[in-house]
Amino acid sequence: MIRYLIKRVVLLIPILFAVSTLVFSLIHLVPGDPVDLILGEQSLPADREKMREAMGLNKPVMEQYKDFLSGVVRGDLGKSLFEKRPVSTMILERYPATLELAALAMAVALALSLSFGSLAAVKRGSVWDHGSMLAGLVGISLPGFLLGPLLVLIFAVKLDWLPVAGRQEAGSVVLPALTLGAGMAALLTRLTRSTMLETLREDYVRTARAKGVAEKTVILKHALRNALNPVVTVAGLQFGVLLAGAIVTEKVFAWPGLGSLLVQGIERRDYPVVQGCILCIAASYTLVNLLTDVLYARLDPRIRIEAAE
């Protein structure tokens, strides 16, 4: 297991290095002067020089790259051009809100997909099955910026059960979590159904039924438990996707997380903030993927053996 872990971590280093390089390159590959992008082409020469100095753009590119990488390693992502505060501090302030939203969205997705996916498999060919699959396809096709407003109109405006936006009031996380989790639920429902159908055909399920074990126990204890592994793995790998997907949901619900910090950075042309947020989300995504792989290898020895080979 330790060999597998070391191998995966070693493989991660060049990927993280390449991701950092890509994020650094973003501003340098812009056609023309990057300062134009921030201040506009009509800005005063003195302001341009000041900005160039503030962002370190007056140094040779290789030196900027070295400074950027050493900053990333030390957790120094530069200063916000607008708020004049360290970007890493701003990210740390916002990160818990995004994690909370993504974790609850994942809980919503797992609860919905495990119930409806299992039901669809157990009652294959029934109205439940067709209904779940249709709901899955609709869920995948419904963008967060449509589902979010729809949920607000129904649950916040019409029924007045939940707050419209923000994070201050109790229950304010419910609608953003439902919005973010719906697409994931649709994907996982289809996966749960197909893995459950496979598991239900296994010999041990047939044996359990032949022994006279109650159907509920056969489904929950024998079939679902074994169908869980691939579903949980995909859910883990998709957690990083939720962190990125939160950008849209946070904008719809004015949720004060990393996504809204990124959108604010884009609107204000505060590029150190934009770079910092992108790097942080990409690194989180990579680390969550690593964690999922390692956990899966811990649960399933076949993965470790295949990797060693």
Binding site: L16, A18, L22, P149, V164, G240, V248
Partner: protein
């Protein structure tokens, strides 16, 4: 159920394509015509979907928005599909260093959630207009096609008829054109159909975040972005363009599902 879904998808995409092509002739109003007295007002005779916050007819804007969404998605799918096919074929057919470089590059691309990579590129390259968006979406989208083509090519090149062709001295372009590409068309068609749905969603997301096609061009994502600000007083502004996006994406997903079953493709 699958057949019905396929036909539903075909019908929805047909209607959307017709709306996009005929927008200049069937729109109730000029897309730039303003009626300030009507701003935010709901549907009324002659204006089925009501008006936006500038007093423009919403149905007109949605019809013109269909042109943007479908043009961007067709161009993006064509460019990323062609690029991905070329790269995937090269990596899968030649293997060795080519394949190792491809695997590393695609791993780096996949270490970014695609939506984040698109936002990152669009945040820094805002001046490109519609072609700029197509380039950004193609830069992100080629990896999916390349991975499918690489996998299929690796399996196809081990088939007897390809080996026989190599032994008979056929040139690489001939082998690609005669044996590999015709066998790649079915999975590529299915991937491209799902890809259309993905690109429409991506383009709308960028527009919603203020990073889409610039200028005064009406796009579905931008309409929703504006509509969300007036959600409590004029929900129709966000609702109708949102439904248009959802129906078109659903249509392409149904179409892709149907094609996948009909062509017996596993992707």
């Amino acid at each position: 159920m699958k057949r019905k879904g396929f036909l539903f998808g075909l019908a929805v995409i047909g209607v959307a394509a017709l709306a996009a092509v005929l927008a200049p002739w069937i729109s109730p109003q000029d897309p730039n015509a303003f009626d300030l007295a009507a701003r935010l007002s709901a549907a009324r005779p002659g204006h089925l979907f009501g008006f936006d916050e500038d007093g423009r007819d919403l149905l007109t804007l949605i019809l013109w928005g269909a042109r943007v969404s479908l043009t961007v998605s067709i161009l993006t799918v064509a460019i990323s599909g062609a690029l991905g096919t070329l790269i995937g074929l090269t990596a899968g057919y030649f293997g060795g260093l080519c394949d190792r470089v491809f695997t590393f590059v695609s791993d780096v691309f996949l270490s970014f959630p695609s939506i984040l990579l698109m936002i990152a590129l669009a945040a820094f390259y805002r001046q490109g207009g519609m072609m700029g968006i197509v380039v950004i979406l193609s830069l992100v989208g080629w990896v999916g096609y390349a991975r499918i083509v690489r996998g299929q090519t690796m399996s196809l090149k081990e088939r007897d008829y390809v080996k026989a062709s190599v032994a008979a001295g056929a040139s690489t372009p001939r082998i690609w054109a005669k044996h590999l590409i015709p066998n790649l068309l079915a999975p590529l068609l299915v991937q491209a159909t799902f890809g259309m749905a993905g690109v429409i969603l991506a383009e709308s997301t960028l527009s919603f975040l203020g990073l889409g096609v610039g200028g005064d061009v009406p796009t579905w994502g931008r309409l929703i972005d504006q509509g969300v600000q007036y959600l409590l007083v004029a929900p129709h502004i966000a609702l109708y363009p949102g439904l248009a996006i959802a129906f078109v994406i659903l249509g392409f997903n149904f179409l892709g599902d149907g094609l996948r079953d009909y062509l017996d493709v596993k992707i």
